[in-house]
């Protein structure tokens, strides 16, 4: 999709021919995120929709106990130390950012008085600064007032390397300064099209200066508040047992009227996803269960009981297969899969194209992931006028056979194709996880029918997803022919996400496999466009560049997207929770309520 087409679409949104939601969905289909789409519209003069979050109770309290079930238990409650999503979710009960992202990619103010725009002088014309106006009258749980000092302190805290905050990426290159008690200006070193990062969403939770001021830098781990959070959120801290449960009670001084609805809050952790689903959908022991990574078949059976339902939200996560561009069997200068080599099989475009035709994405979605994912080659398929002949996905074993035959890969006596003495055999690895093993089985079988022999390999998740430099089984080493995993998009902007195909990001021995480009695919044009996009201030032009980058990667067939994964939660009947695929599940906890 080109810039001109994007502008046409935006014009359609402006004139009302295309709904905002439809626009966002199309942007997701071409590999962009909803928040980026929202910002594109905002910059083009379509304001962020005034997010109306329905809330029926007429007074705070009276809702009894709200019971949440996380099958991975919360292990710590400082959002800037959060190792996994579970910790971020747990922290979000107590801490709040200036703003969050809704399901449509709109910014929704939380501790901010309003969302900065050009109209309210929040956004500078040159894209180098943004001014946040803070909500007045907000109190920390200990009664102290919330001010600009806390916001500036949070920036100071997170950007200090010795603090070892996981949010450092959002703060190290920006500068935050206090304008007055309720105004903060964030300035950027260079024009920054994506300004809503610091103080927003997952990494944006504000810490109280008066409790953390003595624990900045190397002393950060000693802060008593790390385990007993004091935030501005709708619930007050009661008790926390790491790896087991969090207890909280209603904050009577919450800064939004009539909220929250529930009197106490209980978060229980541990166990497995299937039994968590049972506890909500089948017995109703719990009100909500997080991250239902369960075969859809089981979920549907459980839902049939009528006690609860499954809530599905689109997210930026993609399950994909990557084919190694380099040869993992040959060792050059002490490392395998060196960029100096080329893969003996996959360097032939016919092989890559054939494999693309052998992936039965539709069945993988239908029979394994169900409603929790959308089969995708990460491309725009509809409407007709945008459909590209090269980008649709299909399962076509005959065509795959024909392509291989034409490229000179002939079947041997054992039914395996070979060319120049090289047999079409490869090893395909992934982490140990039931749906992934089923996906492997489906792809292996299709490949067999095309004369390709696939050996399946599984590595336990805690090893596969580690950065252990000594272990050859980790995914950054990629000492294997093909591998599959889910790439997550922790930031709702593609800039950092797309760096995983840059030539200077290639993971190798020299950078201890810390480089982000694991597939070792490289392309000079890609590098050049990426550098351009980093400086591009026009949101539409920038979006077009990212779409182009996405097309380049996928079009070369080294990277084979399978599914756009969704976020799935289980909710008990009667509970209204406002979930978004672009922020944490707890992002609107204050507005959760229950109807009889």
């Amino acid at each position: 999709m080109q810039e001109r087409e994007l502008r046409n679409l935006i014009a359609d949104v402006k004139t009302g021919q295309l709904s905002r939601r439809a626009f966002v969905q199309r942007m997701i289909a071409v590999g962009l995120t909803a928040p980026l789409a929202g910002m594109m519209l905002a910059q083009s003069g379509v304001p962020m929709a005034a997010a109306e979050i329905p809330y029926k109770p007429t007074k705070a309290g009276g809702g009894g106990v709200l019971k949440l079930l996380y099958w991975q238990a919360v292990t710590l409650l400082n959002p800037h130390f959060a190792i996994g999503t579970k910790d971020q979710e747990g922290s979000r009960i107590f801490y709040e950012p200036l703003a969050g992202w809704d399901a449509e990619g709109n910014l929704v103010a939380v501790l901010a008085a309003e969302i900065p725009t050009k109209d309210n002088d929040g956004l500078a014309e040159d894209g180098r600064s943004v001014v946040w106006k803070l909500k007045r009258g907000v109190k920390w749980h200990d009664g102290k007032p919330f001010t600009a000092d806390d916001v500036v302190f949070t920036w100071e805290y997170a950007r200090t390397p010795e603090t070892a905050a996981v949010s450092i990426g959002s703060y190290k290159d920006v500068k935050a300064e206090k304008v007055d008690d309720f105004t903060v200006r964030v300035t950027f070193a260079k024009p920054t099209p994506y300004w809503a990062d610091a103080f927003v969403g997952v990494y944006g939770m504000i810490l109280p200066k008066h409790l953390f001021a003595d624990y900045i830098g190397a002393k950060s781990r000693d802060a008593p508040t790390n385990l007993k959070p004091v935030g501005t959120g709708p619930y007050l801290f009661v008790d926390f047992k790491p790896g087991d449960m969090v207890l909280a009670k209603r904050n009577p001084d919450y800064h939004v009227a009539n909220r929250p609805y529930f009197d106490t809050l209980e978060v229980k952790g541990g166990g497995d996803a299937v039994s968590a689903a049972r506890a909500v959908l089948q017995t109703g022991e719990y009100d909500y269960a997080w991250n239902m990574q369960v075969e859809d078949e089981i979920l549907q059976k459980l839902e049939a009981g009528g006690k609860g339902r499954v809530n599905i939200n689109l997210s930026g996560n993609v399950e994909f297969i990557m084919l190694n561009a380099t040869d993992p069997a040959v060792e050059v200068d002490g490392e395998r899969a060196s960029v100096k080599t080329r893969h003996p099989l996959f360097s032939d475009p016919a092989v890559r194209q054939a494999i693309n035709l052998l992936i039965d994405r539709a069945s993988i979605q239908k029979f394994i992931y169900g409603r929790a994912a959308v089969a995708s080659a990460n491309f725009l398929n509809n409407p007709e006028r945008f459909r590209s002949k090269n980008t649709k996905f299909e399962l076509n074993i005959e065509k795959a056979n024909a392509i291989l035959e034409a490229a000179g890969w002939k079947k041997g006596a054992d039914g395996i194709r070979a060319k120049d003495g090289k047999a079409l055999k490869f090893v395909y690895q992934t982490s140990i996880n039931a749906p992934r093993q089923k996906t492997q089985a489906i792809i292996k079988q299709a490949c067999q029918k095309a004369g390709i022999d696939v050996e399946l390999k599984q590595v336990v998740g805690s090893v596969f997803f580690s950065s252990d430099t000594a272990n050859p089984d980790t995914y950054p080493h990629f000492y294997c022919d093909a591998q599959m995993y889910n790439t997550t998009m922790p930031q709702p902007d593609p800039q950092i996400f797309m760096n995983q195909y840059l030539s200077w990001e290639i993971a190798n021995k020299e950078n201890k496999w810390q480089g982000r480009n694991v597939s070792r695919w490289q392309n000079k044009e890609y590098d050049a466009i990426y550098k351009q996009a980093e400086q591009e201030l026009d949101a539409v032009k920038r979006a077009a560049m990212y779409i182009k980058l996405n097309d380049m990667v996928v079009g070369d067939n080294y990277i084979q997207p399978l599914l756009a994964r969704s976020r799935v939660a289980a909710l008990k009947n009667g509970l209204t929770a406002h979930l978004s695929g672009w922020d944490m599940d707890m992002w609107q906890l204050a507005n959760w309520y229950r109807e009889a």
Binding site: V274, V294, E295, E297, I298, K301, S363, K366, F367, I432, A434, Q437, K438, Q440, A441, I442, K444, Q445, E455, L456, K457, Q458, V459, V460, S462, V463, N471, D473
Partner: protein, 275 residues
């Protein structure tokens, strides 16, 4: 009872050895139209959630399960008896060292150790004896290595008690050498718990194999061993009970047969037979 059990065990072995020749359905043929179907003539044991035939999978996986079960049991029993016997008869520093090793093995955290073993030895063994053989040896050794300690402690305790019994004293007074004492008098009388441990270990090893495949140490998850089938089936227990039923029944039958054989064995070994 023991004779009938031998027959059952022989039947099970014959089924997994020759069954795949008679029942030609492939084990990994995916058929989405026949997912989770109940037993029928076409699929006598029904199908799993990818529509794969469970009978074929049971027969194929049974070879591995039975082989792993017996081999791992043999390793655990032989190592355990050897260490327990040496320790029980020699005492002193030899006993102290051997029991220290036993304590060490009992204290080792299994999961990290398994990960370390995979990391260190998988490729080495794969190159040495091929993928399947290497995995088999690794699994048998690992399960055996984690299960010999109770046997050793039991045998040693028996030895400590038996070596002071009258009949042993009598044999010693008659000038029997230590090896003869052990082989003729003490060991046969301490086999009771060993036989029990052996019969329990077969079941434990079959189940342990399925947990190992989760660590990437066992056979790949697409190889349907009995323990693995049981594990995969557990979440579908209320939707498709047939999936778990046959695997569970097969393990149970094996355990049943081998236990009766064990009971028969001990009765046959014991001169003072009660019956």
């Amino acid at each position: 009872m023991a004779v009938a059990s031998v027959a059952i065990l022989a039947l099970l072995t014959a089924a997994v050895l020759f069954g795949p020749l008679a029942w030609r359905m492939p084990i990994n043929e995916i058929d989405f139209t026949a997912r989770l179907s109940s037993p029928s003539w076409e699929h006598p044991f029904g199908t799993d959630d990818l529509g794969q035939d469970l009978l074929a999978r049971m027969l194929y996986g049974g070879r591995i399960s039975l082989a792993v079960g017996f081999a791992a049991m043999a390793v655990a029993i032989i190592v355990g008896t050897l260490i327990g016997a040496i320790s029980g008869i020699s005492r002193g520093s030899v006993d102290a060292v051997l029991m220290w090793i036993t304590d060490l093995f009992l204290a080792l955290p299994q999961l990290p150790l398994l990960l370390l073993v995979i990391y260190l030895f998988r490729d080495f063994l794969k190159n040495l004896v091929g993928a399947e053989g290497g995995v088999f040896i690794l699994i048998v050794l690992v399960i055996g290595a984690f299960r010999w300690m109770p046997v050793a402690r039991l045998v040693r305790a028996q030895f400590l008690s038996l070596r002071e019994k009258e009949f042993v004293e009598a044999a010693r007074a008659l000038g029997a050498t230590t090896p003869r004492l052990v082989m003729r008098h003490i060991l046969p009388n301490s086999l009771g718990p060993v036989i029990v441990a052996g019969t329990i270990d077969v079941a434990a090893a079959i189940i342990a194999e399925s947990t190992l495949s989760f660590l990437g140490l066992g056979f790949p998850p697409d190889i349907p061993t009995w323990g693995r089938l049981l594990f995969d089936a557990k979440d579908y227990l209320d939707i498709a009970p047939h999936w778990a039923l046959f695997a569970g029944a097969a393990i149970f039958l094996t355990v049943l047969a081998i236990n009766f054989i064990g009971d028969g064995l001990r009765d046959a070994l014991d001169p003072r037979k009660v019956m």
